[in-house]
Symmetry: C2
Subunit: 219 residues, 2 copies
């Protein structure tokens, strides 16, 4: 029994995972949690491909490491100008990312989320900006899965880098048209302390009253 | 104190909401829950505009009702061929949707989620399919907010119909470039029983082992 607020308040991105297997009953609860999530018109237009075979994980890991290397270069440049303490924090995140890229295949389970865009009402498809609304029927399920991992003491992290290698991932996992991939979540018991306190902005920085830019005030 | 699994298992789309105000301390917990969510690079590229002013809610409600009418016609056609019991269920959902469209302005709070695509690494932007990855840094926060509403006994529903009227919504809420809108969540105490058991597909229908299409088996 874990309080829902406590689960949310301590759900960290855990990138150092032990290879120890996950008991089937634990995994079953984590997967069922994803199914509870809301989706547009209750269509549930997502699927998970659960990868545990070493050879398949190794191939996903190779694809992941290649995209990570490119992302890392970009990210390192973007943090170069930060104050020392912030840069140190980001550098620790990069080190954890390096670990994940090198050890991706060691996670006992990788959950690859797929989605069918033809079963979604994508209300922002015709706008000039990038579309995000399809994600409204996918990522709530991902968040549920992450929170269930937290409840079970499992480390996990939402990664979207493999979407950049989607054609190769679709071939590897035999994902048919018109399904796309939304993210991959490596899951396993944490090497270190795992979940814990978060570093997040305050409500007053993220919430506005009535008009964009007017900081929310709690009386 | 509400178990995280119990919260997920009973989080329904509640479309009939009382106009009764939400106490500030309750609202503060719901908003803080959203801030806990993971985002790519911890960028937290989302904001909430919290709408409580009657005039603004009325204008959002008018925009919502217009898009609902069009969506409803489309949806009604799509369910025409369903078996009687399924069509009856969908028709009840439509009736609840009609209620929301007519009473949208009566919800004491409408949370409009905005996002900044320039603060996101959108790894699926160059694929030929519709992009969803931006949503990975928005909808986990929305799900957290919904789960917190569940914990507080508040009804709520994730709606994306207003994205189709984004230019008007941006003008109304003074949302600047390059921010877009991801969803609107009306929140209020339920008219009826509110949250409760869900109708969802089984894990074996939504999860595959190793390859897409190979139903997950729990030993």
């Amino acid at each position: 029994m874990l309080d829902v607020y406590e689960a949310m308040r301590t759900l960290r991105a855990v990138r150092r995972l032990k290879p120890d297997p996950i008991p089937e009953d634990v995994l079953a609860r984590v997967l069922e949690a994803a199914t509870f999530a809301p989706t547009g018109g209750n269509a549930q237009p997502w699927r998970i491909v659960l990868v545990r075979a070493p050879e398949t994980k190794a191939q996903l890991g190779e694809l992941y490491a290649g995209t990570w290397t490119r992302f890392r270069t970009f990210y390192e440049q973007s943090i170069a100008g930060l104050p020392d303490d912030e840069r140190a924090r980001e550098t620790r995140m990069l080190a954890a990312g390096d670990h994940l890229a090198t050890h991706f295949h060691e996670a006992p389970v990788v959950a690859v989320f797929c989605f069918d865009p033809t079963r979604m009402a994508i209300t922002d498809a015709k706008l000039e900006r990038v579309s995000v609304v399809g994600g409204a029927s996918i990522y709530p399920a991902v968040e549920n899965l992450l929170l269930a991992c937290r409840a079970e003491g499992l480390g996990c992290v939402l990664t979207t880098l493999l979407c950049g290698r989607e054609p190769a991932v679709r071939t590897l996992l035999e994902i048919p048209d018109p399904w796309g991939t939304a993210c991959a979540v490596p899951i396993g018991y944490p090497v270190g302390r795992g979940h814990g306190p978060l570093r997040r902005r305050a409500v007053a920085e993220l919430v506005f009253d009535e008009r964009f830019g007017s900081a929310h005030r709690t009386p």
